[in-house]
């Protein structure tokens, strides 16, 4: 739908806004769209980039002589106006717009501009900046819509059928199909609407659009894209809708809840709104650069969500179409620039994934567990410390005095590697190059006696060589690295590696203790090489001396020194080595680290949520030249955009003041922008079709007086959201049939005049939730951490980096997690759930106020083959059989009602019964196929049912799930 902007606007212009001959030309309706689209880019509000010193968006400026000397516009004098001459010119060098702009005025547009100048070239302020007024021509939605229809000689459509309305209302107000319990007493519509508005699922459904606006996701985005925790904010939004929090408070608490006097935990959680932006965790980024990104995102999001303005243009220069200056942008940024944040995600800390500031949620059980673990940790740590305090010297002396008898091992056979290893003179030659991961297996003879330790020696005949290995195996024996440098090759994960850099004069050795004895006369030594540059020569030695006396050369050298001669670093090195060789110390150290890990893991379980906080001393904010973080210009103070009414004197110059200003009665935009989005929610298109852009380039309102009436009524009601919603859904306009009817369809194909009710495809979330609800699989729990339902395998692995992201594999949930409502589905920004993306959900990287509604073959494949829907079809089938009575027709009718809230018509029933006959026969003859088909998904199958029959009903249920009507609100 997003791409429709120009077309909607064009049609609107053509059908609604055409100046009738004889009727005077009006600037806002007739002229501004032409000038804005064709001229303002070079002759508009962006003062830095005006061509020829000419500005056409303000009357005085347009009447001044331009560089050429002639005024562009002389009111009333067409011939004296250079603008007219230029747009009519045939000369390529003269004509405006110039050919290289690829813009061209139509004859009608030229005529409009000519007539406008002839009539005096009166300008009007842009409609959206003029305060809304109640025109007095209507006092209900239907008054304004009917007036619009009558003007075009059109009739409204008849009301939709009761079944259609029940479904339309339920889908629009709760995102779920009607519940039997809500229909059981055959309620009148007002009662039914109230029930839906009171349903806890209402808040869930209304929240989705707000989550798009707020760019809510479960990961940080950018390259690393690790998890964050912000679901408590999402739950706050759901609660706010359910509690009907007035929109002014909804605004103030989310933008500045932390600045309210005695802010509650809930009010702090609400400020997560502006922590939803992406956060870069990539190594080596420059914090300032990304802080500039985050604050810009907050400015742009605030401007779009509350003001319907495209501030992003003003980040680098004055806006080219709207009176928003670059200074306005940075003055707004100053409100959002005082958060104690770092600019970079905390990359090194795997435990706490949230980047400050955040708040902890109360979790008494977890806190008690932590106290318990901490109490256990203390005595173990004390024991460990007492061992560490032991005397070093007797041991050091013994170590320095010891002689270790190393016996060379005889290599018998060596295989593996890019080129086969060569054996010569008890030495194995590996290389000259190893380009990829490979196991090099060397069989060696072992001498008698109880071998305690091994020594591996690596050198090279080349000037230098490097050898990268990831594993070492010696038969089945358990190894322990005596030299911590090579500990990585023992972890058996084939990921962590150790590099040996050698030169002829710098051989390298690695020492290992054998923790279990070797058996037999030969053993295989396996070196897992990852790559190697240059040839390397390997030799292997064994000893029967006790391991306590073995140490690498560096340690031996330190041990041999007089205690007074050792540096602090050397003493520490020696102490660490001694402790590492003590089995008791190792055991206690392991215990300590296990306890610490348990504490850290428990701490990580305490939910936190990102919030805004305010620095005591505000950070200075500078205008950034061309938007570049490292090109600061002059300093600016926090201020609201100059073109709008000023921030009242009594309001603080911080986020709280800004939030209050946004919902102040003087603000001409917020109420209009908000009611327009609700209109869009119910009718598919806003009264202003470009719901994110109320500027010069946006669409004009199809019903300006209605928009103003709704906005003012909304404000007067105390920003009562449910009252607004109720006003819309109880209107006859909303309740019309959505059939395309002859006459009005021709005159109003886009339904801009609303000569019929809304009919459009459901959102990604509603399509899935509806199938889950109809099949009885839906788990209706509200809130909590996001969940991981079915997901095609392999999608993450292809694109996610394992190193950066321990959860590089999608770890599918189980049980209830598979069937929660879709707004709880884990949202990974780099790989959003494909079921969401295919049905036009945004990436949630930046603010999105409108989703497109595409119609693609990939959607068909999703609904046909995704286990989500195959499983839902089976459970819907089970309901049809178990609850639909004994007859085929009544069972089919139940399936229809569960998804579509109506009974099938006779022709539909004919198709369905024929399909059923065919399918039962088919599956009865192929029980294996039925069995396979019924095994999809984790939710199980009713084993008491006849498999062939169930398979046939499942096929039918899948047919119903795939109908156009099913995925459409009508």
């Amino acid at each position: 739908m997003r791409h429709l902007i120009p077309f909607c606007a064009a049609i609107l212009f053509a059908t609604l806004a055409e100046p009738l001959s004889g009727e005077p030309v009006r600037y806002n309706r007739d002229v501004r769209p032409i000038l804005s689209d064709n001229c303002f880019a070079c002759h508009g509000p962006d003062t830095a980039n005006q061509k020829s010193g000419l500005r056409l968006d303000a009357r005085e400026a347009a009447m001044k002589p331009a560089k050429s000397g002639d005024p562009a516009i002389v009111p009333g004098e067409v011939d004296a106006s250079a603008l007219v001459a230029r747009i009519l010119s045939d000369d390529e060098d003269e004509v405006m717009p110039p050919p290289n702009s690829h813009k061209k005025l139509t004859a009608k547009q030229k005529d409009t501009l000519r007539r406008w100048i002839a009539e005096g070239a009166e300008y009007e302020a842009h409609w959206a900046f003029v305060p809304p007024v109640k025109s007095g021509t209507g006092n209900s939605i239907d008054d304004f819509i009917l007036a619009g229809l009558q003007e075009k000689g059109l009739q409204p459509s008849p009301p939709a059928s009761r079944e259609t309305l029940l479904r339309r209302l339920s889908l629009d107000l709760t995102g779920l199909p009607p519940k039997a319990v809500d229909l059981s007493d055959d309620p009148d519509l007002p009662t039914y609407i109230d029930r839906l508005l009171q349903s806890p699922h209402h808040g869930e459904h209304m929240a989705v659009g707000w989550l798009d606006a707020a760019r809510f996701a479960d990961t940080n985005g950018y390259q690393v894209d690790r998890d964050r925790e912000l679901w408590p904010w999402r739950d706050w939004v759901i609660d706010a809708f359910n509690a009907n929090l007035p929109f002014d408070r909804f605004t103030i608490e989310q933008l500045a809840g932390d600045l309210l006097p005695n802010a509650t935990l809930d009010q702090k959680i609400a400020t997560g709104f502006h922590r939803n932006h992406m956060l870069n965790e990539e190594g080596g980024i420059i914090a300032e650069e990304f802080l500039a990104e985050y604050t810009a995102d907050r400015v742009e999001t605030t401007a779009a969500v509350w003001l319907g303005q495209t501030f992003n243009c003003a980040r680098c220069h004055d806006h080219k179409y709207d009176p928003i200056t670059q200074r306005d942008f940075y003055a707004m940024k100053a409100f959002f620039h005082n958060v104690p944040e770092r600019g970079i995600g905390i990359y090194s800390n795997p435990v706490r994934t949230n980047a400050p500031p955040f708040v902890r949620l109360p979790a008494p059980e977890l806190e008690a567990k932590i106290s318990g673990l901490t109490a256990k940790l203390k005595p173990v740590e004390e024991k460990l410390n007492s061992l560490a305090a032991g005397d070093l010297e007797p041991w050091a002396k013994k170590l320095a005095a010891a002689t270790i008898e190393w016996q060379p091992l005889e290599p018998l056979k060596a295989v593996g590697g890019d080129t086969p290893p060569q054996i010569a003179d008890k030495t194995v030659l590996i290389g000259p190059q190893e380009t990829r991961a490979n196991d090099i297996v060397i069989r060696v003879g072992i001498p008698g006696g109880n071998i305690t330790s091994l020594r591996l020696e690596c050198t090279t005949t080349a000037p230098s060589a490097s050898f990268q290995w990831s594993e070492l195996k010696v038969g089945e024996s358990k190894l322990r690295s005596i030299d911590a440098a090579h500990i990585q090759v023992l972890d058996k994960d084939r990921k962590t590696r150790s590099v040996l850099s050698v030169a002829p004069d710098k051989p390298v050795q690695a020492l290992f203790q054998l923790e279990s004895a070797l058996a037999g006369a030969e053993v295989e030594i396996t070196l897992s090489v990852e790559n190697a540059g240059g040839p390397s020569q390997w030799r292997f030695f064994a000893t029967t001396n006790p391991t306590e006396l073995i140490a690498p050369a560096g340690i031996l050298a330190i041990a041999a020194k007089e205690p007074a001669q050792r540096s602090d670093a050397e003493r520490n090195q020696l102490t660490d080595f001694r402790l590492a060789q003590m089995p008791d110390y190792r055991r206690l150290a392991e215990e300590v680290s296990a306890l610490k890990k348990a504490i850290a893991e428990t701490e990580a379980e305490i939910p936190t949520t990102l919030v805004m906080e305010e620095l005591g001393e505000p950070r200075p904010t500078f205008l950034l030249m061309r938007g570049a973080y490292d090109k600061p210009g002059e300093q600016v103070a926090a201020a609201t955009p100059a073109v709008l009414p000023p921030l009242a004197d009594g309001l603080p110059r911080n986020r709280l003041g800004l939030a209050k200003w946004l919902v102040s009665p003087e603000n001409p935009l917020t109420a209009r922008v908000v009611v327009n989005r609700y209109w869009q929610h119910f009718f598919g298109t806003g009264i202003v079709s470009t719901s994110e852009d109320f500027g010069s380039q946006g669409g004009l309102p199809s019903h300006p007086e209605l928009l103003d009436w709704l906005a003012l009524t909304f404000q007067e009601s105390g920003w009562d959201v449910k009252a607004l919603v109720k006003r819309i859904v109880t209107s006859a306009t909303y309740q019309q049939s959505s059939r395309f009817a002859g006459g009005s369809t021709e005159a109003d194909p886009m339904n801009l005049l609303l000569s019929r009710g809304p009919r459009h495809r459901l959102s990604a979330e509603v399509i899935r939730d509806q199938a889950l609800a109809a099949s009885g699989l839906l788990v209706p729990t509200i809130g909590g951490p996001s969940v991981k339902p079915y997901h095609p395998p392999g999608l993450y692995e292809q694109v996610v980096a394992q190193r950066d992201n321990p959860k590089a594999t999608y770890q599918q949930g189980s049980g209830d997690d598979l069937h929660r409502r879709s707004l709880y589905t884990y949202w990974k920004r780099s790989v959003p759930h494909p079921g969401m993306l295919l049905f036009d959900a945004p990436f949630r990287e930046t603010c999105s106020l409108r989703r497109s509604r595409s119609n693609t073959a990939l959607q068909a494949l999703n609904l046909l083959n995704d286990p989500t829907y195959v499983e839902a079809a089976r459970h819907l089938a089970q309901r049809m059989i178990r609850e639909g009575g004994p007859g085929v027709e009544s069972r089919l009718a139940l399936g229809f009602r569960l998804l579509l809230t109506r009974n099938p018509g006779p022709q539909e029933l004919e198709v369905l019964t024929a399909a059923m006959e065919r399918s039962i026969k088919d599956f009865t003859g192929d029980p294996e196929a039925a069995k396979q088909f019924l095994a999809v998904g984790d939710a199980g199958t009713d084993e008491t049912l006849n498999p062939a029959e169930l398979a046939a009903y499942t096929m039918l249920a899948s047919t119903l799930i795939n109908l156009d009507e099913t995925i459409t609100k009508e």
Partner: protein
């Protein structure tokens, strides 16, 4: 299939009028805007080397560096350039000459590294640009800029623009396909992002479709177990029959579009597995593309798949090969990367050439930025790393309409700054669009009141490299 019988309450004339008007709102019914002028290229294969391959070790031959080993990079060369946080704390910036040998190849005498023995055989087909530059210095923004013309996500990928501008040549396949391969070496592979082949603010039908050679080459393509193509066909006939009844009642053109899309889905179920089934290739193909080509998901296997897609008229094929981010152990890392990519790349060029397809296929090879001449971390005669370097890097193009055996642009003796013919990513994109018959200043789409382009407000066609 005719829908006329179901249109009884509506006159045909009215219906057509409705459809025509509705099509304004419905991009699927839009005929794609045709090329602006006669194209040289019908399709693009973009061999995207994610992580940033080192230009110094592959393409940008600097013999003078050998004598500079471990000397400090002169401040006059480095200038005020920003560094990533990974090396900005380094005390020294010691020059690390390439450890690899370069040789001249082909009639053109193009200097190429010993790491590219197979690609080097096509030196006379390749147009090597040694003077690419970009603003971004971190992977994600840089790759997003390379793909969409902007560092921040939200704009359409190159392939989406082409799909939007030219449509598809194959009614059963998407116009824009993304293939992702994994490196065989133990390298740190840079993550990718679905948005890199996303359609941004263009309708989602223009987004790249991720395809692989596994069981489901396209998401959800396979019918569930137990459901044969016959059963699916019969079921779809039921869906269509019911949708037609709906259409007869409501006359919403969207319903008709839905019927068409379900038919397309069914055709894709037949066409795609056939396309992705590499077992039908003659066995000598695997010799040409190298041993890795038998393993699904490797760069080599994806090169074969790319050729099959190109043969079937897919407009824009984007391969991603990750793992070029050699901050340390560059010599071994880049060797492993070239082992994965060099032979298959050359085999792809060879096959396209043999089939006469190189004439109208544009092949592009390159990453998101370059790497520094100075070593990141410890420098030894045979080991070092290199940090990110946006100021210059190398990319090559081959095929439709570009000069073979041609080198464009030049860098200073440190491969640090461009000294001749700088080429911005916008210029590269403008040129590629030009070869496709599209004027980059005219291929626009309006979003938030502004006409957006792939090249933003920049970009010049590189006339010098056109044949």
């Amino acid at each position: 299939m005719s829908t006329e019988s179901s249109l009884a309450p509506f006159s045909r004339r009215n219906w057509l009028k409705t459809l025509a008007l509705a099509s304004l709102a419905n991009p699927r019914l839009f005929a794609s805007p045709a090329a602006h002028f006669a194209p040289r290229a019908k399709r693009v294969i973009w061999l995207t080397q994610a992580g940033a391959p080192s230009q110094i070790d592959l393409f940008d031959y600097k013999p003078g560096l050998a004598s500079q080993f471990d000397k400090d990079l002169p401040d006059s060369v480095r200038g005020e350039q920003r560094l990533t946080g990974m090396t900005s704390g380094q005390k020294r910036f010691p020059v690390a000459p390439s450890v690899f040998q370069f040789q001249q190849h082909g009639r053109s005498g193009m200097w190429l590294s010993e790491l590219l023995p197979h690609t080097a055989k096509f030196a006379d087909e390749i147009c090597l640009i040694r003077s690419l530059h970009t603003e971004a210095i971190n992977h994600d923004p840089a790759m997003t800029l390379l793909q969409t013309g902007h560092q921040i996500g939200g704009r359409p990928a190159f392939g989406s623009w082409v799909s939007y501008g030219l449509g598809s040549d194959n009614a059963d396949l998407p116009a824009f396909v993304a293939l992702i391969s994994r490196p065989s070496g133990p390298t740190n592979a840079q993550p990718l992002h679905e948005r890199m082949w996303g359609s941004g603010f263009l309708p989602s039908k223009y987004q790249g479709v991720r395809m692989s050679s596994g069981k489901d080459p396209v998401l959800f393509l396979s019918d569930p177990p137990g459901i044969t193509a016959e059963r699916r066909r019969a079921m779809l006939d039921d869906v269509t029959a019911l949708n037609r009844l709906k259409f007869a009642d409501y006359h919403d053109p969207e319903t008709q579009a839905r019927i068409d899309q379900y038919e397309l889905a069914f055709r894709m179920q037949a066409a795609v597995p056939d396309l992705a089934d590499l077992s039908k290739e003659p066995t000598d193909i695997y010799d040409r593309y190298g041993p890795e080509s038998k393993k699904p998901g490797t760069y080599a296997a994806n090169c074969i798949l790319a050729r099959r897609l190109a043969e079937r008229g897919v407009r824009f094929i984007q391969l991603y090969h990750r793992g070029w981010d050699q901050h340390n152990n560059l010599p071994s890392g880049i060797r492993s990367q070239c082992h994965d990519t060099d032979q298959p790349t050359a085999a792809l060029l060879a096959e396209l050439k043999e089939r006469g397809m190189l004439e109208d296929t544009l092949v592009i090879w390159g990453g998101e930025f370059g790497r520094t001449v100075y070593s990141q971390g410890v420098l030894t005669p045979d080991n070092h790393g290199r940090d990110h370097h946006p100021r210059c890097f190398s990319v090559w193009m081959a095929g439709a309409g570009v000069k073979g055996g041609h080198v464009h642009g030049e860098t200073d003796e440190f491969s640090y700054n461009i000294v001749r013919d700088p080429v911005h990513i916008h210029d590269l994109n403008a040129t590629a669009l030009h070869l496709l018959g599209l004027d980059h200043t005219r291929l626009t789409s309006r979003f938030q009141g502004r006409d957006y382009r792939l090249t933003d407000v920049h970009g010049h066609v590189l006339k010098d490299i056109l044949s």
